[in-house]
């Protein structure tokens, strides 16, 4: 095996294992928020995008409607479309292979692929496929483990699962707070959602913050 291939494989595997392990938090949180084990596993198999999955279970768990949950998850999934735009000309695939490539187009597979750019197009493709498939396998296995574990727990608050979900969201947003502007936006949206929570139906305060982001993005 050439050095480049083994580096790519190492990067992909380490990302797959660490990211896949978060699946345990998702599976547990999904069950804690009222989803069945089957539904939790289907979300990981079919939706397969961490932030979107946490969002839909978070919104429904907070008493929001299915539409609010789907809308919030979908707004977070828009970035996967942008990753697809980046990856498509580099992968050059069609038919069934394109369907599989689309399903594993997520933060991690795109990031590892772009990280291999100095090593050439072949390393980029390998990085994408190894990471995408690796995360998919581990994410789904760990989701099942987490869901079964939470089902066996009973009172999830006694195990801190009610805090694991907001901590997971915080961990997802933290790396994006790269400057003062991003921090102010984050705090403003958090305060807005809290203030609106007792006033409007559950789920709406969260979606409304996306429109704040859109308006600010258009004006900035």
């Amino acid at each position: 095996m050439s050095k480049v291939v083994s580096t790519t494989l190492r990067d992909s595997l380490s990302v797959s294992l660490t990211v896949g392990a978060y699946g345990i938090a998702f599976g547990a949180a999904a069950v804690a928020n009222g989803f069945t084990v089957l539904q939790s596993c289907l979300l990981s198999l079919l939706t397969f995008s961490g932030a979107s999955q946490f969002a839909v279970i978070g919104v429904l768990g907070a008493g929001g409607s299915a539409i609010s949950g789907i809308a919030t998850a979908s707004l977070l999934g828009v970035r996967n479309a942008l990753y697809g735009v980046i990856m498509a000309p580099r992968l050059k695939v069609s038919g069934l292979t394109r369907i599989v490539a689309a399903q594993i187009t997520i933060d991690e597979s795109t990031a590892v692929a772009l990280g291999q750019e100095p090593h050439g197009i072949d390393a980029m493709r390998k990085g994408f496929w190894y990471t995408g498939i690796g995360v998919f396998v581990f994410w789904n296995l760990f989701t099942l483990a987490g869901a079964l574990g939470a089902q066996a727990m009973g009172d999830i608050r006694a195990f801190g699962l009610d805090s694991a979900v907001p901590a997971a969201f915080l961990g997802l947003v933290w790396p994006r707070l790269t400057g003062k502007f991003e921090c102010i936006l984050a705090i403003a949206c958090a305060l807005f959602a809290i203030v609106m929570t007792p006033i409007v139906p559950a789920g709406l305060p969260i979606i409304a913050t996306a429109f704040i982001a859109i308006v600010i993005g258009l004006k900035r």
Partner: protein, 102 residues
């Protein structure tokens, strides 16, 4: 059909449609700088709102409970540059301790 099934299936269909559309539409459609800009801001807005709502509310009521401790510990863990699983686990453990013994 329960709302959990509707949410599971609806989210999955749209998630795949978004991913597939990225692989299928011409690059210039989505490479507009404004779209890139908005795309960078939306996750910050939604995830921050989710942190707040998940930490300080139950259904439509605001409340402060053991989750505040969990969230504070998560912030400390992130400030100490802890990896994601450590952040989640430390929040869960501290929250569980407060819930059981207070």
């Amino acid at each position: 059909m329960s709302i959990f099934w509707i949410a599971t299936i609806g989210t999955s269909i749209i998630a795949f449609a978004l991913k597939y559309s990225g692989h299928s539409v011409p690059e210039r459609w989505l490479s507009h700088p404004k779209i890139q800009q908005i795309n960078a801001l939306i996750p910050i807005a939604l995830l921050s709102a989710l942190v707040a709502v998940q930490s300080f509310s139950e259904k439509s009521k605001l409340m402060i409970d053991q989750r505040l401790v969990g969230l504070s510990v998560a912030v400390i863990a992130l400030l100490l540059k802890a990896p994601f699983p450590v952040v989640v686990l430390s929040a869960a453990v501290s929250s569980a301790v407060v819930y059981r013994w207070l």
